[in-house]
Structure formats: structure tokens, C-alpha cells
């Protein structure tokens, strides 16, 4: 599809992605582009040559995460227990957030996606529907409500990383308890529509 890169160009590109990966993980997405270039041992011009838009570099760095999330979703569906499938999927995604400050910020801006959006949407829908049908997940819970989990945990991870890096699990457990069917009381607002959530995610480029 895309034109083949010259050997040195490919190498520089890889160095840039690797440098960005490290800096993003440690300090978040707001690292100066000049610093990424310097860390990669490459000039700022080269960075712009490979990644004209800031988002291009971010996408390159986290492209593998989309794949990872898809794998996690498939694994979740392979588990017998639908509730455990749902919660362990969410927990794994949260672990990704907790392990990488940059990914945490990205997930907070646009809840976990897969490379193939159609497919990811379908996988996650199945995870949620299956949990509802099993009777474990409250009936009024929707796929879009998962964004609340991601957003909430993102902020908790960010705030507590330096002090109690695992305490987000407590926050998450509280959320899970609110998601169980027996816990359900009527919710005051209709869920986000798929289109509304998409609009939110689109606005953060």
C-alpha cells in the first residue's frame, strides 16, 4: 500500500517511536517534540518529516494498544463466566492505563478503541450483552456506560500514581459493585448514545 521507506528512514522512524513511547509512558502526552527528537538522536526536522501532525506520532506509538485491546476482548469472550469476562476485560484495560501515563491520557480522551473500529465495537457489545443475559450485569447498563469507568479510573490513576499506584483497584471494585444486577436502582438519565460518545471522542484530535 504505502511506499517503502529507505533503510535509514525506517530506522529513524523506529527510533522516534521508541523515544516517544518511553517519554509518553513516563511523563504523559505533553512532552515537547524537540525533546522526543533529541532523545531519539535525530533532528526536529526529521520528526516533522515522519510525523507532520502531532497526532500521527501518538497514533504510531499506541497502534499496538488497539491490537492488544482487541485480543483482550476476544479472550474475555472465551471465558465461561460472562461476568468474569466483562470485569476481567475492564480490569486488564485499566492495567494498561495504570502502566502508561500516556495511554492513560489517551484513554481518558477517547475510551479504548481497537484498530478496526467496527470489529472492536462489536466485540465489546458482545461482552456487555452476554453479561446482561447471564443476569450478572444490570439490565440498564450499556456499552457507552463503560466510558464512565474509563474516565473515572483514568483520573484516579493519575491522581494516585505517585502515592498508592494500586489503589485504583479499589475504585474499580466499587464501580463493579454498582454494575451488578442486584444492586440496580433506577438511573436518572438515559445513557449516552453511540453517536454522542463518538462525537466526544472525535473532538480530541
Amino acid at each position: 500500500m504505502t511506499k517503502p521507506l529507505r533503510k535509514d528512514a525506517q530506522r529513524n522512524r523506529d527510533l522516534l517511536v521508541e523515544a516517544a513511547r518511553g517519554l509518553y509512558a513516563e511523563r504523559g502526552l505533553d512532552v515537547a517534540l524537540e525533546e522526543i527528537a533529541k532523545t531519539a538522536g535525530v533532528s526536529i526536522g526529521t520528526l516533522y518529516n515522519h510525523f507532520p501532525q502531532r497526532a500521527d506520532l501518538v497514533n504510531a506509538v499506541f497502534a499496538d494498544r488497539a491490537e492488544t485491546v482487541a485480543k483482550l476482548a476476544e479472550h474475555a469472550l472465551s471465558l465461561d463466566d460472562a461476568w468474569i469476562g466483562l470485569t476481567s476485560f475492564i480490569e486488564r484495560v485499566c492495567e494498561l492505563q495504570a502502566a502508561d501515563r500516556g495511554y492513560n491520557e489517551l484513554a481518558a480522551a477517547r475510551p479504548p478503541q481497537t484498530e478496526d473500529l467496527e470489529r472492536g465495537y462489536e466485540l465489546m457489545t458482545r461482552i456487555v450483552e452476554r453479561a446482561k443475559e447471564s443476569g450478572a450485569l444490570r439490565a440498564d447498563f450499556t456499552l457507552e456506560d463503560m466510558a464512565f469507568v474509563t474516565w473515572g479510573i483514568a483520573r484516579t490513576v493519575e491522581a494516585t500514581a505517585a502515592v498508592r499506584p494500586e489503589v485504583w483497584r479499589r475504585h474499580l471494585a466499587l464501580l463493579f459493585d454498582g454494575m451488578r444486577a442486584p444492586a440496580a436502582n433506577p438511573l436518572p438519565e438515559p445513557p449516552l448514545l453511540p453517536g454522542e460518545l463518538a462525537g466526544i471522542m472525535g473532538g480530541c484530535d
Copy 2:
């Protein structure tokens, strides 16, 4: 206590606070100081004269919120139903967050405080303890767990304000359902210690 201000100085100070209040509410705390000065119709030097530190202006703008939170807490304690006292208190605070982008950011950095820290701590503790004793709030919930609520709602408010400004109430209702005593499953992590939370809040000046 503090020396009395000259009449014009007091007026300029008020203009600055008022300008900052409006800009913070609309656009968050990251407004350029020069813009605040210009909006107030005052020079940048005057702003620095009154508020040498950036945080001084923020504190001046939101000083009244501390008072408001204290009043809300007192009202919550005056209600017969301890659960309603707790949840309506939280809901009111969240409404403050939803109504003001600046306050929302502030609350996300350092969960709701009162002017008199000692007193606020005591009031909120009473709200939580009373709800536990009534049997409505799960026994393993602590005051520090309220920070999860604030953090989570802060992010949801921020993300959804433009699209569905009231949908945070749904997120909150899910949290409440997880806080009810019958919903309680064992939590995987011990709560944040008071000192740990204080450390988090202190780090954001």
C-alpha cells in the same frame, strides 16, 4: 488583621476576581493571566501586585466555594435520612463542579475542601459515619473514598459537558448503587489513608 486597601485598589482587586471568575468558569483554570487583566480592564502589573502567585488568584476566586461546601455539609447532617444526607451532599457538590469548569478542575486536583479544614473534615466524616451507622452505606466505605467520586465525576463532566451536560448524573447513580450496603463485595485494596490523600492534594499547588 491585613492592612486596609486603598479604595481604587480594592475596586481593581474586585474587578480582577470577577473577571477571573467568569473566565475560569467558561474555559478552565488555564486562562492566560494577561487575558484576565485585560478583561478586568486593568494592567498586568496590577494583577501581579494583588496576586503574586497564580494560586492566590484561584484561591480568591473560589474562596466562597469552601463556605458553600461547608453549608451543604451542615444541611446534609440536618436531614433525617442519613443516606439521603450523604447522597444529596455529594450530588450538590457535583452540581457545583458541573456548573463551573474552573471549579471542576480544582475539585479534580484537590477534592472539595472547606475554608476551615479541620471543621470540614469533621463535618464530612460525620456525614459518612452516620450513613454507615444507619446501615445504608457499606461498612467498608471511608471518607477518602469520596475522592474517587469527585475524580470520576470531574472527568465525566469535562468530557460530556458539550454533548450531554446532565449525563454525569447517570455516572453518579451507578456509583451510588455501588456504595449501598447490600451491594458490598469485598474490596481488593485498603482505602487511601488521610495522610496519603493530603499528600495528593498538596502536590497540586
